[in-house]
């Protein structure tokens, strides 16, 4: 397969163009899973456990059945009857209207045997804490990462610093909650799911329902966000399928906001105790971290330390800790923002101790050649030289400061298949079993195909989000673009070659002489023949040319570097932090669409600001219920708190397509924390950085 054309020869890729489905979305015509409707459809809802730890003794559904409009009820949803968090699924109901559901859920009579529970990380780590799983300690055995020799590294160090950082549990909070609309077509199950993985969900649901793959079809036309929480098949889908079977009717079951907060994943919290050693010349020689995190009843609360910087001698011990809360799920750059918040502050503390500028200290310990360039570009644009060297030097009460942080990412592309149909009237269809989780994949596919065929975006009809289409992976790990774009290029290239052969024969020239450009097919060289795309397609003997293609090496790469600069204002009387400005330099390989790329970086930063200042899952220690499972009390950054964000796309087209969705959210909280320190002279070592923590830190400093 040929390489990408040089950027200067590209007509579409690397440029700015709006999404092909943008108008559909803003006018409300785009049909999300939430919008799916079928004649006779019922509305489903799940009853979640009231208690964080209990045995379900009995579920009486007789009252539920007495409610007019109730068509199906399940009381055997939970496999063991031993629940471990509030909201864990125990029963379900389907009814003719959504209004009935609220009443129906109240009519289940559930007898619980309540058990002791533990909610928060440091509480669950204590010996006397109730066990989440009776035969397992809450504190898992450590996972150990070791490089070099950490004792020797500390022996070489001339300055050693120790500190502790804490981050909170953050919820993915997609605007469209998790859920499915399902119906049975004979013994085949059709599922409209709000998912990041149509193929993965098909495989998962088929397994869970013990059905052959070809009898399960999963469709997701449009998706209202997932951020990693919609990579797996959902129990709500299985429940909806069972309700649909029982009632012999289609069922739409979308989680309400409360269950969405409780049961569909989160970013685990973290407690990181760090020790770092460096030489006077600014070389970091050793890094030791002992970290803990809770993924609720699940695992995967790792903290990716040390992050970004090159350190020869490292030891990191991590313990996952169980608590009575919903299991974590991947969340935009899993394990990284937690690590970055701690790492970037340690870097600044060390730089200060060594009397070095934080940027210089980073340059000295950052071995990534791309980021070396990005640091300089960002510093220049941001005006880093204007940073006050002495913290808290503004007179106040409102003080300003500047800080920075770095991002990183690893995964690249992987197997994706696609097919293309070209009809004799010139119309083109592309089929790919990927999905657009809001990042612009549908548009990118049209762009790559149009670029290859010398057509315009609007001439390509893109079909995605259906497990009947050629297989592509889940949209996670920032893998979608580097997986899908090469497959589409390959498919379009094959189509071009096939069509080229027909035209070469028609004009009696060699196939290499055929060029596709600006809506024309041209025989270059002496023949000087030219047909419009439509005329050329008219030569197809059969009415449709169909080709299949797939991902291959050489068109995408892995590894992403980036950096961010933040300026903040802190009101030292009220403790309120306001982010004034963020400048981000984002590594982005070959850009597919500058608009969607910038949008991804903006989104990552906004979510990072939200993580830094606002979001936090809170439990009632008495009942174990989440006290803020809604958009009013679970604070997410708003438009008025979102600062000016300047995104500098650092493109290296020769690297091919890379995925950039996750890295921009990594360094924001650390950069803000460093800026806060620069402004007020005290460090906020726990997230979110709320006004009361800022005031407390200032008061402690005075004392």
């Amino acid at each position: 397969m040929s390489k990408w054309k040089p950027l200067e020869k590209m007509k579409i890729l690397g440029k700015k163009y709006p999404r092909i489905d943008g108008a559909e979305k803003v006018t409300g015509r785009a049909r999300y899973t939430y919008d799916q409707f079928k004649e006779g459809m019922l509305y489903g809802a799940i009853l979640g456990s009231r208690y964080p730890a209990a045995k379900i003794v009995k579920i009486d559904d007789s009252m539920v059945w007495s409610l007019p409009g109730v068509k199906a009820v399940l009381t055997d949803v939970h496999p063991t009857g031993r629940v471990r968090y509030v909201g864990e699924e125990i029963a379900a109901v389907a009814a003719t209207t959504p209004e009935i559901l609220g009443e129906a859920l109240r009519l289940f009579r559930v007898e619980y045997e309540k058990l002791p529970f533990t909610l928060y990380l440091e509480e669950a780590m204590k010996d006397e804490a109730p066990r989440v799983f009776p035969r397992r300690s809450n504190v898992n055995k450590p996972r150990i990462r070791e490089e070099g020799n950490v004792e020797q590294g500390f022996a070489q160090a001339e300055v050693v610093l120790e500190d502790t950082f804490r981050t909170q549990v953050q919820i993915q909070t997609p605007l469209e909650s998790h859920g499915s609309m399902v119906y049975w077509d004979g013994d085949e199950l059709i599922i409209y799911d709000s998912t990041q993985a149509v193929h993965g969900v098909r495989e998962g649901i088929a397994k869970m329902l013990d059905m052959p793959l070809h009898k399960v079809r999963v469709i997701c036309h449009h998706m209202g966000g997932g951020f990693g929480s919609k990579l797996q098949p959902g129990i709500y889908t299985v429940i909806a399928a069972r309700l649909a079977k029982q009632a012999n009717a289609p069922v739409r079951l979308m989680l309400d906001r409360q269950l969405e907060f409780l049961t569909t994943g989160n970013r685990p919290d973290s407690l990181s105790r760090i020790k770092m050693g460096a030489k006077r010349d600014g070389t970091i020689t050793a890094f030791f971290a002992k970290t803990y995190g809770t993924a609720g009843i699940g695992n995967g609360a790792g903290v990716r330390l040390p992050i970004v910087y090159s350190i020869p001698n490292v030891r990191h011990e991590h313990h996952d800790v169980y608590t009575n809360a919903g299991a974590a799920r991947p969340f935009r750059a899993p394990g990284c923002p937690q690590a970055s918040f701690a790492m970037e502050q340690m870097m600044d503390e060390m730089a200060e101790k060594l009397g070095m500028d934080p940027l210089q200290f980073r340059l000295k310990n950052d071995s990534n050649p791309t980021r070396q360039k990005e640091w300089m570009i960002g510093a220049e644009r941001f005006g880093w030289h204007r940073r006050k060297v002495t913290p808290a030097s503004d007179p106040g009460p409102i003080k300003r400061g500047m800080g920075l942080g770095a991002s990183i990412w690893w995964p690249g592309g992987r197997g994706t298949k696609a097919s293309m149909k070209i009809y004799s009237d010139g119309s083109v269809e592309v089929f790919c079993g990927t999905q657009d989780l809001g990042t612009g994949t549908r548009t990118h596919i049209a762009a790559v195909a149009a670029e290859e065929l010398g057509l315009e975006l609007k001439q390509i009809k893109v079909h995605i989000g259906d497990s009947n289409y050629p297989r592509s992976g889940a949209s996670g790990g920032s893998t979608t673009s580097p997986s899908v774009a090469p497959a589409i290029k390959n498919t379009a290239e094959k189509a071009r070659q096939e069509l080229g052969k027909i035209l070469a024969e028609h004009w009696n020239v060699s196939p290499e002489a055929i060029i596709f450009s600006d809506g024309y097919v041209i025989a270059s060289g002496e023949a000087k023949q030219r047909l419009s795309w439509k005329e050329a397609c008219g030569l197809l003997e059969t009415d449709v040319l169909e080709v299949h293609g797939e991902w291959s090496e050489g068109l995408s790469s892995s590894g992403v570097a980036g950096c961010q600069f933040a300026e903040v204002e802190v009101d030292t009387d009220t403790g309120k932090i306001r982010v004034l400005r963020i400048v981000a330099v984002a590594d982005c390989g070959l850009i597919l669409d500058r608009l969607t790329t910038e949008s991804q970086v903006n989104g990552g930063i906004i979510q990072g600001i939200s993580y830094a200042l606002f979001e936090e899952r809170l439990f009632d220690p008495q009942t174990g219920a989440m006290v803020n499972p809604n958009f009013e009390t679970y604070k997410i950054v708003g438009t008025m708190e979102t600062p000016e964000i300047e995104v500098i796309l650092f493109d290296e087209p020769e690297r091919g397509v890379i995925g950039i969705g996750e890295p921009p959210t990594i360094p924001t909280s650390g950069a803000i924390a460093n800026a806060v320190y620069n402004a007020i002279g005290v460090r906020i070592k726990s997230l979110p950085m709320t006004p009361d923590k800022v005031l407390q830190a200032l008061a402690n400093q005075k004392a």
Binding site: P98, E99, L101, G102, E103, D256, D573, T574, G575, K576, F614, L618, V627, N628, T633, K635, V637, G638, M640, E641, T690, P691, D692, L695
Partner: protein, 291 residues
């Protein structure tokens, strides 16, 4: 969530409203802008059997001025206050407050009467009405009475309104609007309920000493909280930095009784009250430009 079933009435005259209230009393709720009532019903925290929609009562939505007072109809949208020349010129304290009330979309719908009758202790307008010494007209089929703002607010979501009464009109005395004023609040995000807030109105005597001072807090107690101790302290004194600080300290320590919740501790609210009092009084002071 969706609300449980209820009966719905959409009367066209105040008379009809009062009749319905007389008939249904406690079982009924009046629907004004619905910005608090509808979510409360959707969460099933309120389950009125009867909903009386006031949105058809045109006569309740206007702003008028006379020599003595400014009159605001209960169904006046918050956005109308914001856009009103009378409000901007005659009650600048209200004008300064409005942008802090939720968001434009909510203010388009939310009404003055609904805002006041809901009596959310974290809400801005009730405290401002107490500061302005406003009076409220409460009507029922059989009676009509006037109640001062400070008597109207009785506790968290509790007012002087009887089940068969509604708030129809707000009157703000003109002399109240000629003073030096200030409004301050701190919220986690723009448009959120404030963690603490304060409105102040000060009249100075000919010697530039405080003659009539009104300071009212919100989000630090069960209802709008007047700063009696601070007011007493300030009366007769000039608005000078040290005096302002002392008054703020006094108010924060003695006048308010804030509570802990998930958004802020009582201690932090007390601290905020002090800072905001200083800032609001400073603002008032800076507005004093003797001829």
């Amino acid at each position: 969530m969706k609300p449980p079933p209820f009966d719905y009435f959409a009367p066209q005259t105040l008379e009809e409203v009062l009749q319905l209230l007389e008939q249904y009393g406690d079982d009924a709720k009046v629907l004004a802008g619905g910005q608090s009532l509808i979510p409360t019903m959707n969460f099933r925290l309120a389950q009125p059997a009867v909903l009386i929609d006031l949105n058809g009562i045109r006569e309740l939505a206007d702003i008028q001025e006379s020599d003595e007072e400014i009159t605001v109809g209960a169904m006046t949208r918050q956005r109308m206050l914001e856009k009103s020349v009378i409000i901007r010129e005659k009650t600048p304290l209200i004008f300064e407050t409005i942008p802090h009330i939720a968001h434009v979309q909510i203010r388009n719908r939310g009404t003055v009467g609904g805002n006041l009758a809901h009596a959310d202790p974290a809400s801005e307008l009730p405290a401002v009405m107490v500061t302005l010494n406003a009076t409220f007209k409460l009507q029922s089929l059989k009676s009509e009475r006037w109640v001062s703002a400070s008597d109207f607010f009785q506790g968290m979501y509790m007012t002087a309104l009887q089940p068969e009464e509604i708030l129809t009109e707000v009157r703000i005395p003109v002399q109240a609007v000629t003073g030096l004023y200030g409004f301050e609040e701190v919220a986690r995000r723009h448009g959120d309920y404030a963690l603490a807030g304060v409105s102040v109105l000060v009249h100075l005597d000919e010697n530039q000493n405080c003659e009539d001072v009104r300071i009212t807090y919100f989000s630090v107690g069960e209802a709008p909280v007047p700063a009696h101790n601070a007011v007493q302290f300030l009366t007769g004194q000039p608005l000078e930095d040290e005096i302002i600080s002392e008054a703020a300290e006094l108010a924060a320590n003695n006048d308010i009784d804030p509570h802990d919740d998930i958004h802020a501790s009582a201690k932090y609210r007390r601290h905020l009250a002090k800072i905001l009092t200083i800032r609001a009084l400073q603002k008032a002071k800076n507005r004093n430009k003797p001829n």
